[in-house]
Symmetry: C2
Subunit: 679 residues, 2 copies
């Protein structure tokens, strides 16, 4: 969570992994890993900027080169972007781009590139500016210090993405994310070669983009927090400049309270009076799909938005329509009978087809969540699968283009390794024909924002998003988890160099909790042993409320504790390897003793008080760990009852408090299970 | 140097100090300390934003209030700036400003304010918007977490500055500082109630502001790095909005190579061909003060710049004129004889008086470094004393207004306590009459930029600048150094919240040195034990060179090591207090063992290799410290020869390497000196 602390943990991880893997100094810190890499002996020294020779491409290549020089300066501390210029006799950096890209970046564009670094220079070639941009990111990742100065290792790289659609969805409705937060995350996306930013622009909580044709949406359907059309155009240009498409989503017919606050007559059943601000606000009707006025409004607004957003795809949501509003509305029921619509699914399909005609009329292809899936939609529709990989395979089999989001929900707080293991072409999709598989375009990470603010957005996305980016770019065979974590740690640091704030904001939030009165190592010891509760558990103990400050420890820590992962691995090793035990014992002692020192500080701040049970339980775990090590090392057996009791205490200590739970219990459990037992 | 590490060190400092001082939880974290503070029982709870009632002032008060809400949000994590608004029944925040301020902020304006915080609300009153701005910064510093939520302690504060001129000079010529770097440092200045930003805009290395009337200056006298006039106007408005005046300096007749590259005929002797880029460039003539064309050019450019910069004061430099160019120029010598100018001082005075007429003609008062001091200048001239406090007293006695910079040179790398001890009214000034003392307007910190880049500017200024700000604002009696360091640590954290990068950039630079391959605690152990060499020592081993990347450890670490200060204090205590020894022994062991682990990593990067002797010496110091502790604890005497040898080793280990030196030698020395000696 803390910048230095975070890097500390990660480096420790590297050391641990090196014990198990052949990871010499030569391993390249590339993420996503390229399709083909050949590393050779030798280095190119960057003592001075190589002389740049650029041909072809479009203005994006020039912009990318300027950014590259700036990033290189940050990476090295050498002001390449100011005072240095290539000497005629120095090495050359030859960049050749065969042609310009499309005016509106498209799925079908060639993103591959070829890169050679040798002692005489760098050669980067690509068919399309997108390839040059990706290649420059790769060059940046190769830069490293050496005894002779900053160098690039000699390499040959041929790189092309496995999937054409590599996206990130951000929900900007439940918590509005400022323009700058989107910009810096686009920078991060470009660094890991992601190419689609999907903005969830409307939901029950707010309609987040200015409508000039229907200004009621801006006035009434947001709480004043929205992007102007000028801002949106600027963001789209910013993204395009970095090889990222922007796909807008306006969620209909459900998740549409914001629309209906502005247009109450179009609600199914009683109209909502106000935007949803919290889980308490239960009245969330969908659009009434039986009114022609609904389609008139959608035609007007979608027409306006399809002109604003140049991408070929236009996302209409379509998820989680609450049928009870339709069931209870007599007019809707009568209309359904008249039109022989047999159930709510059929009614939604009727709606979806009408909306698709609107989307299509304005020149776009419709995209929607998997609830819209029905055999009768036009085949150019794109299905985003969120409920499971089955719908992905189903959609592909029906002939629809489709992308996977199930398994890539970053708001569920899973570790990077779990997302990394999700492959769009595995499971049910593996059985598809080649033709069917070709409909699977890729995937999208998703960040729903009930519990995310502009302050911790980066922390909720990074570095885990890097693992998903690699899954979607790199060959299917790239699955080594220790290697992934090692490279992810380097990426994480470099992203901070780029302006992402996942470590610094976490550090700042932790500082705030510590206040001015306490030694930070006490809270950090606890913070590194916990993670936010997973899946939708937080919603049970702390309902969504837009007014609630998200400034507690759960909001500050990373979704994944690197230190916990390391300790759990160390304990597994320690079962058979005595050399791993002293380090482990040191940690256990630290845990055991931490609570006595921390406890006096907890009561004096409302940000700290809820952490008391976690701190007590960490202390219990420390003591149990020491006892287990003692038993193993002295070969002093425990009775089955003692062991049972110890394991029960471990179970108890894993209980969530303050929306957090201790994730180091496996380390203690594995040692208890390894104790000699006296039958 | 590292963000978390930095805070860690500082907190440890607090704990150490608390052992010696009565610093209860109630001590307020205010810096600069106000003239009068009365703290009372009770708190105002900030659960919701108090309802704001603002009367009077000008637009700056509104802007300051908006910034206040945003800062409050960052400080608390509560989105005060978005979703919250004062409930009618809640507490009130009454702000009353008697009137607007002057259009151009002036020295004479009343900066005082009166602040009351009670359980029913906040009342802030001032005669002038400047007082309101200062008061809002004080309120921000009072915010703290409590068991009940975020609170403000009940206080009565009457606050007024001791000196009217509280400045910071930044040299933007030797290393150009981007606009954003100046902006964020203005934010920092406002946070500590500093009110003058003095920009050293021209020197041998570059002329840093656009001239439209003499575009040759922009084209030839800078290397392309300069502020446009629009930017300058924006910066001045930005500063004014934060209660900060901007005083420009154009240094003449010396330090003027940039001017003379554009206007070579005006040089004394042979004209320079190019801007000074490094210490190697020896040709640095001053203006020829005997040519009328010199005054024509200055009249044109100063006229333009005096229109651009609205402040009443206009700084013409005047320092370090190298007389040898005048001595060697036959035309100048002949002119001097003709005009009965007896020496170079008289020639400079002739020049200064001519320049003063130009400055005055355009409606400003002249300011200059103390070399311009001469009894015959107009009495509205302002003398900036840099060569010593004597010139300050001399200037005041002659009836000139004057400010002190000697003792406030931040580029000399002194600790905060040293600057803190420098009082403009002490020493020779103490003997002045009240009337003479009234000419001493205050002081200015100075940051010369031979070895400062935009990346480490903040690190070179903060947090030490806070101590100078307190000296210039707070009553003379506020001199407690432990209290200053305790509050400075809190300020340092809060400045990072505000966007200053003194900790984060230091952390990033350290990361870069560590690269991807080494455990960071090894380098950090070393980094916390060293400081950059002091005064002008770096110039001896590493001459100034604008092309040199400043990306080494000396550039990354803070000029003052908090941990070293703590350890040295701990060792002093440990001589008589056995309870201080275990912690000290732990540190000594860490130092002793650090080199063996660090050494293998040093050789593999050009950024690390030069650190080897420092690391070895730290190891030596650790071993010596352990031996001394052993001797003290076991009462086992050493021979006088042994002690002499030990002290010699300590001396050796203090030698500088890589522009750094170990600052923890006093800890070891004091223990060796406390060893029992067997005569």
């Amino acid at each position: 969570m803390s910048q230095r602390g975070g890097i500390h943990r990660l480096t420790t991880a590297v050391l641990l992994l090196c014990a198990a893997l052949p990871c010499g100094a030569a391993e390249l810190n590339l993420m996503p890993w390229p399709s083909h890499v050949t590393q050779q002996e030798g280095f190119l020294n960057l003592e001075h900027t190589p002389q740049i020779q650029l041909t072809g491409g479009d203005e994006r290549v020039h912009h990318a080169l300027t950014r590259f020089m700036r990033s290189l300066s940050v990476r090295t501390g050498v002001p390449f972007d100011h005072h240095f210029s290539g000497a005629p006799e120095g090495p050359r950096f030859v960049i050749r781009c065969a042609g310009p890209g499309l005016h509106v970046q498209a799925l079908a564009e060639d993103e591959s590139y070829h890169l050679t670094v040798s002692q005489t220079g760098i050669e980067l070639t690509a068919a399309n500016p997108l390839g040059i941009m990706h290649g420059l990111e790769t060059v940046l990742q190769l830069v490293r210090p050496s005894p002779q100065g900053w160098v690039l290792p000699d390499v040959l790289i041929d790189d092309t993405p496995r999937f054409a659609w590599r996206g990130l969805m951000i929900d900007v409705s439940r918590h509005f994310m400022p323009f700058e937060a989107l910009e810096r995350n686009i920078d991060g996306m470009a660094a890991v070669k992601l190419n689609v930013l999907h903005l969830h622009l409307s939901d029950d909580e707010g309609f987040r983009v200015e409508s000039k044709r229907r200004p009621r949406l801006t006035e009434l359907a947001s709480d004043g927090l929205f992007y102007t059309q000028d801002q949106m155009r600027e963001l789209i240009a910013y993204a395009r400049d970095r090889g990222v498409r922007v796909v807008p989503e306006f969620d209909v017919p459900g998740h549409a309270v914001s629309w209906l606050v502005a247009y109450p007559k179009l609600a199914s059943g009683p109209a909502p009076q106000a935007l949803v601000r919290s889980e308490q606000d239960k009245l969330r009707p969908p659009f009434d799909p039986t009114q022609e006025a609904t389609y008139v409004l959608l035609d007007t607004v979608f027409g306006e938005m399809e002109a604003l957003f140049p991408d070929r795809y236009f996302h209409i949501g379509g998820d989680e329509v609450d049928g009870k509003y339709w069931d209870k509305d007599a007019t809707i029921q009568a209309w359904m009978r008249t039109h022989k619509i047999k159930d709510n699914h059929a009614l939604q399909t009727y709606f979806t087809k009408r909306v698709e005609q609107i989307v299509h009329k304005h020149g776009k292809d419709m995209e929607g969540w998997d609830e819209i899936l029905d055999g009768n939609l036009p085949k150019n529709s794109l299905i985003q699968s969120w409920r499971g990989a089955e719908s992905l395979a189903d959609a592909a089999r029906m002939g629809y283009k489709t992308i996977l989001s199930a398994g890539y929900y970053l708001d569920l707080m899973y570790p990077a390794s779990q997302h990394y293991a999700v492959d769009p072409l595995s499971g049910k999709s593996a059985a598809l024909t080649a033709e069917e598989k070709s409909h699977i375009l890729g995937g999208e990470a998703a960040q729903w924002a009930e519990y995310v603010t502009p302050e911790n957005l980066d922390n909720r996305l990074w570095p885990r998003l890097g693992a998903i980016a690699e899954r979607l770019w790199s060959p299917e065979s790239v699955t080594d988890i220790p290697s992934m974590y090692r490279r992810l740690a380097v990426l994480s640091r470099n992203l901070e160099y780029l302006g992402l704030e996942h470590q610094t904001s976490s550090s700042r939030m932790l500082d705030r909790i510590e206040g001015d009165d306490m030694p930070p190592e006490l809270l950090e010891t606890l913070a590194r042993a916990v993670e936010p509760v997973k899946e939708y558990h937080r919603e049970r103990t702390q309902k969504y409320d837009a007014e609630r400050p998200l400034n507690h420890l759960v909001d500050a820590v990373s979704p994944e504790s690197d230190q916990a992962r390391e300790i759990n691995a160390l304990a597994q090793r320690a079962v058979h390897d005595p050399s791993a035990r002293p380090e482990l014992r040191k940690r256990f002692i630290q845990w055991r003793d931490n609570n006595a020192a921390l406890e006096p500080y907890l009561a004096t701040s409302m940000l700290r008080a809820p952490l008391a049970p976690l701190s007590q339980n960490l202390s219990v775990l420390g003591a149990l760990g020491i006892a287990a090590l003692d038993s193993i090392e002295s070969a002093h057996p425990v009775t089955p009852e003692q062991r049972k009791e110890q394991l029960a205490k471990v179970d108890e200590s894993a209980a969530p408090h303050a929306e957090l739970f201790l994730v180091v219990t496996p380390a203690v459990r594995v040692l208890i299970e390894a104790e000699p037992v006296n039958q």
